[in-house]
């Protein structure tokens, strides 16, 4: 009896071991409880009752949602991991590329100066072709320059007509 009182005090201080708690539970379930400790019997009875209780619907609803959230997190981590692996793989696998190169006959030539000379030659060729095909425009420009004084003749004629008109009125 004395021992049970001590155990109860220890229990409420939160210092009991699992074995001691089991002992207390058995004591309260035995039915031979001292009147002094009778008030605590219900407390241990409730604990026992809770053990036998089964999960009701709200709990059943919460569980799948928790799983879903966990699944999304897992999938996100998985996708990120795969993407990172691919990125690292590509970064490691791809050879360092230079923008200045030439490919002739299927062979790549990584020589900047060669590429520059090749490009210059091609641009120069375009220039020559344009100069040749657009040469009639040059002649047209010359004709336009040469007929420029004719503009002045028409101006003079207009002025003369104007003077003539004024003289007739008078």
């Amino acid at each position: 009896m004395e021992m049970m009182n001590e155990l109860m005090e220890k229990y409420f201080r939160g210092e009991t071991s699992l074995a001691e708690e089991k002992e207390l539970k058995q004591y309260f379930l035995s039915g031979n409880v001292s009147p002094e400790l009778e008030i605590y019997r219900n407390l241990f009875g409730v604990f026992d009752q809770e053990l036998t209780e089964k999960a009701v619907s709200p709990l059943a609803k919460v569980l799948p949602e928790q799983r879903k959230t966990k699944r999304i997190w897992f999938q996100s981590f998985l996708a990120t991991g795969i993407a990172a692996t691919i990125a690292i793989f590509l970064w490691v696998q791809l050879p360092p590329t230079s923008l200045n190169y030439t490919v002739i006959g299927g062979t790549r030539i990584d020589n900047t100066e060669f590429a520059q000379r090749y490009a210059a030659k091609k641009l120069s060729k375009v220039n020559t072709m344009l100069a040749r095909t657009m040469s009639p425009l040059k002649s047209l420009n010359k004709v336009r320059e040469n007929i420029e004084p004719l503009k002045n003749i028409s101006d003079i004629r207009l002025k003369m007509e104007d003077i003539h008109n004024k003289l007739q009125i008078k």
């Binding site: 230079s98 923008l99 200045n100 190169y101 030439t102 490919v103 002739i104 006959g105 299927g106 790549r108 900047t112 060669f114 590429a115 520059q116 000379r117 090749y118 490009a119 210059a120 030659k121 091609k122 641009l123 120069s124 060729k125 375009v126 220039n127 020559t128 072709m129 344009l130 100069a131 040749r132 095909t133 657009m134 040469s135 425009l137 040059k138 420009n141």
Partner: protein, 175 residues
């Protein structure tokens, strides 16, 4: 919100597809042994221009370029490959929203210059030359306004030397 996201995604895809068409043509043939291909990155065009002897005005234009790609095919005019490549390029020009700037033809020689603008001042200039047994596509990409591009073309009409480069004979490009 969903609609906006879908529209943005569609716009990005359309832009990517449009940019890819010309790129995919170059990618398709760049390593083909029947073709010759040259690629120059930013800053290297000035040097290329220097080799070709262009002047100060055009060095400014060259400095604005981000990349230069040249694809050349040396083949018989009637060969299926030549016909196929020309056909593919025509489709690229048509679908790629290119506008014609210069179109010249003289004794079997043909020069077509196209341009387009995508995004803010992002310009593509495509120079297509066709002569007997040779077909070349020169693709210049850079940051250029429409005015600057037009200035280049108007110079072409005045000076008959748009890229202000020396004649081919002046160059010692190794080929």
């Amino acid at each position: 919100m969903k609609k906006i996201m879908t529209l943005v995604a569609a716009l990005v895809i359309v832009t990517a597809v449009q940019a890819q068409t010309l790129q995919s043509l170059f990618d398709k043939y760049r390593n083909d042994e029947r073709f010759e291909f040259v690629s120059l990155g930013k800053g290297m065009m000035n040097m290329a221009g220097a080799f070709a002897g262009h002047t100060k005005n055009n060095s400014e234009m060259m400095s604005k370029l981000k990349s230069l790609n040249i694809l050349t095919l040396n083949a018989d005019d009637n060969s299926p490959l030549m016909k196929s490549v020309i056909n593919e390029l025509d489709k690229v020009v048509e679908k790629g929203n290119f506008e014609t700037a210069i179109n010249t033809r003289d004794k079997g020689e043909r020069v077509n210059i196209y341009y387009r603008f995508s995004g803010k001042d992002d310009a593509d200039m495509l120079i297509v030359t066709k002569e007997k047994g040779e077909f070349s596509v020169i693709w210049l990409n850079g940051k250029m306004t429409k005015e600057e591009m037009m200035h280049t073309f108007s110079n072409a009409g005045k000076s008959v030397n748009p890229f202000n480069m020396a004649d081919e004979s002046d160059n010692t490009a190794s080929k």
